[in-house]
């Protein structure tokens, strides 16, 4: 019975393949078939309703715009509050007028979005809040990055994507990466130099071996340019003197201008140059964390951080000292590999340390040899 009905529906709309037989049998018919009969399909009705709603919202938007210009001219004590409320309403109208448009949704799902338009920003933000952020927060709390480096209850508002060379997508937070991946991808020395001159060392041996910092993309949702500070820190660096772990800062750049349209990390002042991650032999895995801080006063103030040493770093105190608000985070884990030896030899020029457990004290005096 059901098969006969599906067959009848299929013949009405011409030949269709098997999987979409069900699709064609749903309530809305194809537009060509109904154009002659004068009836409108559900899809056409949907489009016209969306159009009507859009027109209404745009008319409302005009009124809101007029109101904004009027409020801007006057100078009342409630001006800032009124303006912020009106701008929120304006953003809402701009988004909702285009949110139901199938073309825009199609563009967004294809990844073809223009961050200047409020709709795309809104959709991107919702997408971030739904999946990647939840996973990030899970991983961050599970791997104890939050109590160690970040304040409890931090809710990231920007998405930090670390792009490693040789990897297709951005680094998933918390996954294990190989030291050579991170080392190799920092192949090019961009701008400011590191203290060690690797070009001399590799002259003639490897042609393109220069150290490249990872391509970091901080997807944010504000149109204005704000200044960010990026900190790449390893909280699991061994501290032998205190028999504990300490934070080791691998990279610190300040005053990086970022906006919704320009989200790649370019420029800014380098406080500490990039050092590739080098998890030491004998230690457990290290968590290498990249934190994006927003500079004070909504990212408008320039910040001058002076750090004398990389070891014994304290991310929380530096952030508190310079009033930096953590906005985004991403991290990956690494474990010792033979590549780390080459990093120590070539890049850091330090003899490679090997860690192990301290020797156990002998509790009881025992005869080592059996005496007859």
């Amino acid at each position: 019975m059901f098969g006969a009905w599906a067959k009848r529906a299929a013949t009405n709309h011409g030949l269709r393949s098997m999987p979409s037989r069900m699709a064609s049998a749903t309530r809305h018919a194809s537009t060509e078939a109904t154009q002659q009969s004068g009836y409108r399909t559900a899809y056409e009705e949907a489009l016209s309703l969306i159009e009507v709603d859009k027109k209404e919202r745009l008319k409302m938007l005009e009124r809101v715009d007029k109101e904004i210009t009027r409020v801007k001219k006057g100078n009342t004590p409630t001006q800032t509050a009124q303006l912020s409320a009106l701008n929120a309403v304006k953003f809402d109208l701009q988004v909702k007028s285009e949110l139901n448009d199938p073309e825009i949704r199609r563009n967004f799902s294809n990844g073809n979005l223009d961050m200047e338009r409020p709709v795309y920003r809104y959709l991107r933000q919702k997408q971030f809040e739904k999946t990647p952020r939840k996973q990030l927060l899970q991983r961050v709390s599970q791997m104890n990055v939050t109590p160690d480096l970040l304040p409890l209850g931090l809710v990231p508002t920007v998405e930090v994507n670390i792009q490693l060379k040789g990897q297709e997508g951005p680094v998933e937070p918390g996954v294990f990466t190989k030291p050579e991946q991170v080392y190799k991808e920092k192949e090019k020395l961009v701008g400011g130099g590191i203290n060690y001159s690797i070009e001399e060392h590799y002259n003639g041996k490897m042609e393109n071996t220069t150290i490249e910092v990872p391509k970091v993309d901080v997807t944010n949702f504000h149109t204005d340019k704000r200044l960010y500070t990026l900190l790449f820190v390893d909280p699991d660096s061994p501290d032998v003197a205190n028999k504990t772990y300490q934070q080791h800062c691998h990279w610190l750049i300040t005053n990086v201008p970022l906006s919704a349209t320009e989200s790649t990390v370019v420029g800014g002042d380098t406080v500490l140059d990039y050092v590739p991650p080098h998890p030491q032999k004998g230690t457990k895995y290290h968590r290498y964390t990249l934190i994006a801080y927003e500079q004070p006063n909504n990212g408008s103030e320039k910040v001058d951080i002076k750090v004398d040493k990389r070891e014994g770093f304290d991310a929380k105190s530096i952030a508190a000292q310079h009033n930096l608000q953590p906005r985004g985070v991403s991290f990956f884990r690494q474990v010792w590999d033979e590549t780390v030896t080459s990093i120590y030899n070539d890049v850091l020029r330090i003899p490679e340390p090997v860690y192990g457990k301290p020797p156990k004290p002998q509790r009881y005096i025992r005869r080592a040899v059996y005496i007859q």
């Binding site: 699709a23 899809y43 139901n100």
Partner: protein
């Protein structure tokens, strides 16, 4: 497609047959039988029904243009319902506002009339012409020329 439906129906029917069998074999109390002699014990059966139901693929899988059209229609329908809801809400608010304004004016104008306007009628009313439901219609049929008495 029909064979899949038949197969899953059979699985459900098998489980149901087991339920019936256990019911016939069950002891008087609510305690489940710990021996596996009669086949599945009741608790095990419940567990199987709850947690080991066969994994089913979604029957309709839309792709591409059809999916886009479907989603647009769904959004438009939700939009339509939202607009209807908001329209109703606006109407109610307008009505309330006008009633509120009128009552404020009345309060200022006359206390007696105001109190009278607030109170609802306390008379108990019952429809005189209420028809008792019957199983069959009347042999005379429906009386189209009936007019209620106005007194």
């Amino acid at each position: 497609m029909l064979s899949i439906v038949r197969h899953s129906c059979q699985k459900q029917q098998n489980l149901l047959r087991q339920v019936v069998a256990v019911r016939h074999n069950s002891t008087g109390g609510a305690r489940p039988d710990n021996n596996v002699q009669n086949g599945d014990t009741r608790v095990e059966l419940i567990r199987r029904v709850l947690f080991e139901s066969p994994a089913r693929e979604p029957t309709i899988k839309l792709e591409g243009k059809a999916l886009e059209e479907h989603e647009t229609i769904e959004r438009a329908w939700k939009l339509h319902k939202m607009r209807q809801r908001e329209q109703r809400q606006q109407t109610l608010e307008r009505q309330f506002r006008s009633i509120h304004l009128a009552m404020s004016e009345l309060e200022k104008a006359s206390d007696r009339l105001f109190k009278g306007a607030i109170v609802k009628s306390r008379h108990i009313t019952y429809p005189k012409q209420a028809k008792i439901p019957t199983e069959t219609p009347s042999p005379q049929g429906w009386d189209y020329s009936y007019k209620h008495s106005t007194e």
